[in-house]
C-alpha cells in the first residue's frame, strides 16, 4: 500500500442528490444530538456510491454537513481503503489475494485483470468501463479464489473464468454471481457429503443423551465476578 493522497484532478463541486441527502440525514438521526460526526463514514460511503470515488469537494461538503474540521474527514477518507480517492471504472473489480485465495490461484485472476483491464491496479481501462485492485480477505475463503465486482461476488474462479466474466460484462451482460462451478453456497462440489441423513433434519427427533445439570451450565469462569467493569467514558470529550 502506498500513501493515499487525493487525486490531482478534482471536480469543481459536490452535492448529495436529494435521495442520498435523505439517506445521510437518516444516518445522522441515528446518533445522539451533538454526535452527528459519527455519521462520517456512512456519509462518505453514500457519496462514493453517488460519484464513484471520494472527491475533495465531497470531503469538504461532508465536513460542513457534520460540523467537522476538514482534516478530520480527510483522516477518515485516507484511513479506509474502501474509499477510492481516484476515479474508478463503471465496474470496479476487487481481487482477493489473501492466503486462501492466493493458494487457490488468485495470481491467475490478477493476470486476467491485468490483461483485460489495465496493467496497473487503480487505473481505469482504456474504455473507461473497468478498474481493478488487490484487496485483503473478502470473506469467502471456502469458495476461493474470488472477486467482488461492484457489489457482486464471483467465486471459484480460474483465470479463464475471470476473463469470461469480464468479457460478458463488457458486452453488457450480467453474469450470474456466486460460485462459477455450480456449487450451492459453500457446499462441496457435487453436493453435500456429510450430514445427509434426512432424519437429522426431522424436528420430531430429540437429543437423546442426559441434559446438562444446572450446576454444570452455570459454571462460569473463575474470577469473573471479581473483575470490575470500566465505567463508560463520554465519547470525544476533548473535541
Amino acid at each position: 500500500m502506498t500513501a493515499r493522497r487525493l487525486h490531482e484532478e478534482q471536480p469543481a463541486g459536490f452535492a448529495f442528490s436529494e435521495e442520498n441527502m435523505a439517506r445521510v440525514n437518516q444516518w445522522i438521526a441515528k446518533f445522539p444530538p451533538g454526535r452527528q460526526r459519527s455519521a462520517v463514514i456512512s456519509a462518505l460511503w453514500i457519496g462514493q456510491e453517488q460519484e464513484g470515488w471520494v472527491t475533495k469537494p465531497m470531503i469538504e461538503e461532508v465536513a460542513k454537513l457534520l460540523d467537522m474540521p476538514y482534516i478530520r474527514v480527510l483522516e477518515v477518507a485516507t484511513f479506509y481503503t474502501m474509499f477510492h480517492l481516484k476515479p474508478v471504472g463503471r465496474h470496479h473489480v476487487q481481487v482477493c489475494t489473501t492466503t486462501p485465495c492466493w493458494l487457490r490461484g488468485s495470481d491467475d485472476v490478477v493476470k486476467a485483470c491485468k490483461k483485460h483491464i489495465s496493467d496497473k491496479p487503480h487505473s481505469v481501462s482504456a474504455d473507461g468501463e473497468f478498474s481493478w485492485e488487490e484487496v485483503e480477505c473478502l470473506g469467502a475463503c471456502v469458495n476461493a479464489p474470488m472477486v467482488l465486482i461492484n457489489s457482486d461476488p464471483y467465486e471459484d474462479l480460474t483465470g479463464e473464468k475471470t476473463e469470461e466474466i469480464l468479457e460478458a460484462i463488457r458486452r453488457g451482460e450480467t453474469p450470474k454471481p456466486g460460485s462459477q462451478i455450480g456449487r450451492h453456497a459453500s457446499e462441496p462440489e457435487g453436493g453435500p457429503t456429510t450430514l445427509t441423513e434426512r432424519a437429522l433434519y426431522d424436528p420430531t427427533l430429540r437429543h437423546s443423551g442426559p441434559s446438562l445439570s444446572d450446576d454444570e451450565a452455570k459454571n462460569v469462569t473463575p474470577g469473573v465476578e471479581q473483575r470490575e467493569a470500566p465505567t463508560q467514558k463520554p465519547p470525544g470529550a476533548a473535541t
Binding site: E75, T78, F79
Partner: protein, 716 residues
C-alpha cells in the same frame, strides 16, 4: 480511593484516578515515553511505557492503564508492578527496535540532536550492533505547516502529540494524521499553515526531529547554548521563558514551566521574536543636526538634552513610557520628571482609560489559575486569543473541563471556544448592567462569574464610561465577591486585560498625568500631549521606548527617544539614547495579575547601548537633578520602599475584599459613543511592538498567516 501497589518492591499508595505511569513516577521510577504527555489526552500508541504487572500475561502500557483498574492479587496482597525487570527491558527494546526500523539515522544533521527523546531513549533501550531489518526505510514527503514549523516527516514516529495539542490545547484543529499503519502521515489539510498563535509549542512537544523550529533551523546545538531564566514581555501575561544564548546572540527562546502562569506553553510572538533583538538596533547615541541624525557621544547627547531642558519650562515638557519598559526605568523616569516638575506623564500609549485608584481596579484580579474556577465569563472588547494567547488556552481549558458559559461584546472572532456574540454595540452594556439582558441572568446565577475588559473597550474615547458600566455589571451580578482565594471561598471576577508588559508597573508607579489642583490645570494624557505638540504647547517629549504614537501629526517638538530599536519613535527623535532590550538587562515586570517577576540579563546590550535605568541616572546628573541611587540594588530598594509588592517576586496579590467606595467611583458615568462599534485592541498580533516589528520571522508570520488572502488577490 487510594490503592496499594508494590512498584519495584516498594509499597506505595496511589490515588485511583492516576494512571499507572503517574503512580510509578510517584514511586520514583522513571518511565520512558513518547506519546504520553501529562497535559494532553492519553493516546497509548507508542508502547514505550510498557511495565510488567506480575501475573498479567503481557506487559502493560502504563500510560493508559488506570490505577483503579489494577486489582490486587488473589491472596489480597497488592499488585506487583516492575518497571525495570528483564520482561520490561525486552519489551521496550522491542518497541525501540520497531521505532528505529523507519527512523532515519540522520542525527548529525538533525536539529533535535542533543535534546531528542528518541536519541536519549535509544541510548537506554536501543540494541547496539544488532539489527535485522535490511529493507529500505520509509520516506515521507515533508509538509508545509506555516512559517514557524519546519517539517522532516521521515523522522516522525507518529506519537500524535502535535495533533492532540492542536485539537485540545490550541483549539485549532488544523493538524491530523492521514493514512494508516506505515503510511500514516501527520499533516495539515492540504498544505495549509497551522494557524494557531500557540503553534510553536508543537516543536517542543515533538519527541523527535520531525517538527523543528524553522527560524532556528541549523543555527546552533543545544549544548552550545547558555540558558538564562527570563520573562516574556511580548504581552502582559509574563510567561516564564528561558533565553538561550551563544556568545552575544540570542539563539532562541523557550518556555519555562510555571503552572500559575503559562503551564508549559509559550505563544508564537514570545517564542520567535529573537531575530528582532539583533535587527534595527540602536547601538550608539544620535543627535539630529541639520535635519539629519548623526552619531554622537553620550556626553554630547546629554548636553543637547540639558540645553533644551534648560530652555523649556516644565509645563511644556512631557514624558511617555512605552510598552516594553521595566519597572526600574519607569521609576527612574518618574523620579526624574517629578524632580523637574513635569506634569504631563503617561504610560497609556493606546489611550486606555484606566489607572489611578487602587490596584484591583486595573488588574486581572481573578488570576490566571482562577479562570479555571469560573463558570460564566463576559468578554468586553477583548480578544484574548491575540491579547494573551496563553491565557486564551487557559480559558479554553476551563471551558473544556467545566460548565463555563462565555459571551463576548465586540468584534466576532474565533476564540477557539464558543462564545455567545452580543454584538459590537456598546449599548448592550446598559442592558447587562440593569439585568434586562439574558446573559445578565447567566452571570447572576453563576457561582463564580467573571468579566474581562480588553483594550478594545478601554482604548476608546468613551472608555471611562465603559469602565463605569463594567463596574456596575460587576456590582450587580456578584462578580465582586468575598475576600480570599477561590480555594478559600473568595472571588473577584473583575479583570482588566492589558497588552503592554510595562503597563501594570507604570500604573503601580503612578506614571500618569498629574492630577488637577488649584495651582495647576493638571497633566495631559497621551492624547493631550499629542494635541499639545500639534498646537506647539508641548515643546519637549521624552519617549521611553514609546513607538505606538501618531508622531507624524505632532508638529515639531523636541523628541528624546530612549529605546532599543530604530522604530517610529527613533525616526522622529532629535536625540536618540540607545537602551537595552529585555534580554540585555535585569528588570522587574508586573504582569496583568499584578505578579512581579524578574527578567534576567542573558546578553550585554550592543555597542554603546546601556541599561535604561543607568541612562536616566546619568542624564539626571547632567540635568542637575541627580537621582538618589547608584546601583540597580539601590534603585530596587527605593522601589520596594514605595511598593512593597515589588519585593515579593512571583506572588500574586490576594483579593482583600471590596471597598464599595472604590467600585462605585470607577470610571465616569456618561453617555456611550454608540455609533462607534467595539473594536479590537490589536490590529496585527505579530507586529505589536518595536522588537516584533524588527523581526523578519514576525513579518513572515503576519504576511503568511494573517494576510495570505490579500497577497493572493494582489498576485492575481
Amino acid at each position: 480511593m487510594p490503592r496499594k501497589l508494590i512498584i519495584d518492591g516498594k509499597e506505595i499508595e496511589a490515588e485511583d484516578n492516576l494512571t499507572l505511569l503517574q503512580a510509578c513516577e510517584q514511586a520514583g521510577a522513571e518511565i520512558p515515553r513518547f506519546c504520553y504527555h501529562e497535559r494532553l489526552s492519553v493516546a497509548g500508541n507508542c508502547r514505550m511505557c510498557l511495565v510488567e504487572w506480575v501475573g498479567a500475561p503481557k506487559p502493560q502500557a502504563s500510560c493508559s492503564l488506570q490505577v483503579k483498574d489494577i486489582f490486587p492479587n488473589k491472596d489480597g496482597t497488592p499488585a506487583r508492578i516492575n518497571t525495570d525487570s528483564p520482561v520490561v527491558r525486552k519489551a521496550r527494546e522491542g518497541v525501540m527496535e520497531f521505532l528505529l526500523i523507519n527512523h532515519p539515522l540522520d542525527c548529525p544533521i538533525c536539529d533535535q540532536g542533543g535534546e531528542c527523546d528518541l536519541q536519549d531513549q535509544a541510548m537506554g533501550y536501543g540494541r547496539a550492533a544488532f539489527h535485522r531489518f535490511h529493507e529500505n526505510k520509509r520516506a515521507v514527503e515533508d509538509k508545509y505547516m506555516g512559517p514557524l514549523i519546519k517539517t522532516q516527516m521521515t523522522r516522525c514516529i507518529q506519537c500524535t502529540r502535535c495533533v492532540r495539542f492542536a485539537t485540545e490545547i490550541a483549539g485549532v484543529p488544523d493538524l491530523g494524521a492521514t493514512g494508516r499503519g506505515e503510511d500514516m502521515e501527520i499533516t495539515t489539510y492540504l498544505e495549509k499553515a497551522f494557524s494557531s498563535e500557540l503553534s510553536g509549542n508543537v516543536v517542543d512537544l515533538c519527541p523527535v526531529g520531525a517538527l523543528t523550529s524553522k527560524p532556528y533551523s541549523y543555527t546552533s546545538r543545544p549544548w552550545e547554548l547558555k540558558h538564562t531564566e527570563s520573562i516574556d514581555i511580548m504581552d502582559a501575561q509574563g510567561c516564564n521563558i528561558r533565553v538561550d544564548t551563544r556568545g552575544r546572540a540570542v539563539m532562541r527562546i523557550l518556555p519555562r514551566l510555571n503552572d500559575d502562569i503559562n503551564e508549559e506553553w509559550l505563544h508564537d510572538k514570545g517564542r520567535h521574536i529573537w531575530d528582532g533583538l539583533g535587527r534595527q538596533r540602536l547601538d550608539r547615541p544620535y543627535v539630529r543636526k541639520n535635519g539629519k541624525l548623526v552619531p554622537a557621544s553620550w556626553s554630547d547627547a546629554f548636553a543637547v538634552i540639558a540645553a533644551r531642558v534648560k530652555a523649556t519650562t516644565p509645563d511644556r515638557m512631557a514624558a511617555i513610557v512605552g510598552d516594553l519598559a521595566a519597572a526600574e526605568e519607569i521609576k527612574a523616569l518618574k523620579d526624574l520628571m517629578t524632580r523637574l516638575g513635569v506634569p504631563h506623564l503617561d504610560c497609556r500609549q493606546d489611550g486606555a482609560k484606566i489607572g489611578g485608584g487602587p490596584r484591583p481596579a486595573y488588574l486581572f484580579n481573578t488570576t490566571i489559575t482562577g479562570v479555571e474556577a469560573a463558570d460564566a465569563l463576559l468578554l468586553i472588547g477583548c480578544n484574548p486569543r491575540w491579547e494573551a494567547p496563553v491565557l486564551n488556552a487557559r480559558i479554553r481549558k476551563a471551558w473544556l473541563n467545566g460548565p463555563l458559559k462565555i459571551a463576548s461584546v465586540g468584534a466576532p472572532v474565533d476564540l477557539t471556544y464558543p462564545a455567545e456574540q452580543l454584538g459590537t454595540g456598546v449599548d448592550v452594556l446598559n442592558a447587562l448592567a440593569d439585568g434586562s439582558h439574558p446573559f445578565a441572568e447567566v452571570l447572576r446565577n453563576a457561582k463564580r462569574p467573571m468579566l474581562i475588559l480588553g483594550g478594545g473597550a478601554l482604548a476608546r474615547p468613551d472608555g471611562a464610561v465603559i469602565l463605569h458600566h463594567a463596574a456596575r455589571i460587576a456590582r450587580e451580578t456578584g462578580i465582586i465577591g468575598p475576600a480570599g482565594t477561590p480555594a478559600e471561598g473568595g472571588w473577584i471576577g473583575f479583570n482588566v486585560l492589558h497588552t503592554a508588559a510595562s503597563r501594570v508597573a507604570a500604573l503601580d508607579l503612578g506614571f500618569l498625568p498629574a492630577p488637577a489642583s488649584e495651582e495647576s490645570p493638571g497633566g495631559r494624557d497621551v492624547a493631550g500631549i499629542v494635541e499639545g505638540a500639534q498646537k506647539g504647547e508641548i515643546n519637549f517629549i521624552y519617549l521611553l521606548g514609546a513607538d505606538e504614537l501618531p508622531l507624524e501629526n505632532m508638529g515639531r517638538p523636541f523628541v528624546v527617544y530612549q529605546g532599543s530599536h530604530g522604530d517610529t519613535g527613533a525616526n522622529y527623535a532629535d536625540v536618540i539614547l540607545p537602551g537595552a532590550a529585555f534580554t540585555e538587562k535585569d528588570g522587574l515586570y508586573a504582569n496583568f495579575e499584578g505578579r512581579v517577576q524578574e527578567a534576567q540579563r542573558a546578553v550585554f546590550p550592543p555597542g554603546e547601548a546601556r541599561e535604561d535605568w543607568a541612562i536616566l541616572r546619568a542624564l539626571s546628573d547632567v540635568l542637575g537633578q541627580k537621582l538618589p541611587y547608584d546601583t540597580l540594588a539601590d534603585l530596587r530598594r527605593a522601589l520596594v520602599a514605595d511598593l512593597p509588592q515589588y519585593g515579593r517576586l512571583g506572588q500574586v496579590p490576594v483579593w482583600e475584599g471590596a471597598d464599595p467606595a472604590v467600585w462605585n467611583a470607577l470610571g465616569t458615568d456618561g453617555v456611550f459613543t454608540a455609533d462607534v462599534p467595539m473594536g479590537q485592541a490589536i490590529a496585527d498580533y505579530y507586529l505589536t511592538n518595536p522588537i516584533a516589528r524588527a523581526s523578519k520571522v514576525m513579518a513572515d508570520c503576519s504576511r503568511e498567516l494573517l494576510h495570505s488572502d490579500e497577497n493572493k488577490q494582489a498576485a492575481e
